[in-house]
Symmetry: C2
Subunit: 214 residues, 2 copies
């Protein structure tokens, strides 16, 4: 094994260090957050830090970088209280990645990258029409992380839309591999996935057991 | 598209709802957190909520469920200040899943599931010897999430160990698919991954571009 310590990575060139540290934490989701500003300009941006906070109530968080680095999404969410999260599929991966470019606030990223804004009843923010699995959140809390001026933004799940061909399995599970939802790692790498196994709920006095296909 | 709303999922059976809500947020890492209590009993538990907080300083967070539901890891980290995060590979996926069983505090999960605790110089917590990519964190902050009594636990990266065969690419990127690191979804599903593409840093005035293989 090779050991790495802060004394080593602090000497690295900035992008080398960012690639290394960002890819170390493992695979993650990459989703498009849709929001809209007070002038009515939609915003679309990729985030790879969605995190499950709880199921009842259904709370979902993401990490927003410092305001100077990523100002628009968090400003829109703060002002409007609503936002959407849209799964990314390989069919529009390039367009999704392009939303990470630093467009000025007056630019509508849906138009700039070639995706379609879709407004659905009851949600004051745009969805991505091309996405097969998407949901709307209402802002519950923005928790500042003072260590590095980032934010944990927490929303409550208010509405979910799932393509008719991708409905939940018998136990509620969504087979995201069959939906072609991509996963990501580091700053710029995207993957397709293949199911290894599902396992039964683990108990101390029982051997580990694979779930039969549902 | 099929629509789902809170009025619908609040009527669902608890595990159906948990499967649905947990799988909705997308693919995620699944890692083993190693810690040790004040009596010297090691603890090993799977967490699927690792989240990158920042690269400089290198800060990594995870969500700990309410103390009543998941008491040992957060208590050990609070008391000791150190913990390890260990990638899971398909070669020991069953053992890793079994750590999610609710063992009493006096049980050493390494022994209970058949993994090997490894103590490396400078880190006051056990690593998983079988893991090819692992790192140590020192606790920086535990942020309570009052909405549902969970916690965002943030550590600073202090030491990284990577198998000699899996060293960083020319730009610092770690090819986790080649490491056989698994990814997860929902409560119990595990996947292998296959690279689709890496993309170049996106700029507003340039078309989206795939990175050449490094």
């Amino acid at each position: 094994m090779q050991q790495y310590t802060p004394a080593k990575w602090q000497t690295w060139e900035r992008f080398y260090r960012a690639n290394f540290i960002n890819s170390l934490t493992g695979f993650k989701s990459a989703s498009l957050i849709g929001s809209i500003n007070e002038q009515g300009v939609p915003n679309l941006a990729m985030f790879s830090s969605m995190v499950h906070i709880g199921s009842d109530p259904a709370l979902i968080g993401y990490i927003n970088r410092p305001v100077a680095a990523a100002p628009h999404t968090i400003a829109n969410i703060s002002a409007n209280g609503w936002y959407t999260v849209n799964h990314i599929h390989s069919s529009f991966l390039g367009q999704a990645h392009q939303t990470s470019a630093k467009y000025p606030e007056a630019v509508n990223e849906f138009e700039a990258v070639g995706l379609t804004a879709e407004y659905l009843e009851g949600v004051k923010a745009p969805f991505v029409k091309e996405s097969h699995i998407k949901y709307a959140l209402s802002l519950k809390e923005i928790i500042p992380i003072q260590l590095n001026d980032t934010f944990l933004v927490i929303g409550q799940l208010e509405q979910v839309w799932i393509d008719n061909a991708l409905q939940p399995q018998k136990d509620g599970f969504l087979a995201l591999d069959q939906a072609g939802t991509i996963c990501s790692n580091g700053l710029d790498a995207y993957y397709k996935t293949e199911l290894i196994d599902r396992y039964a709920y683990a108990k101390p006095d029982q051997p580990v057991t694979k779930l039969e296909a549902l």
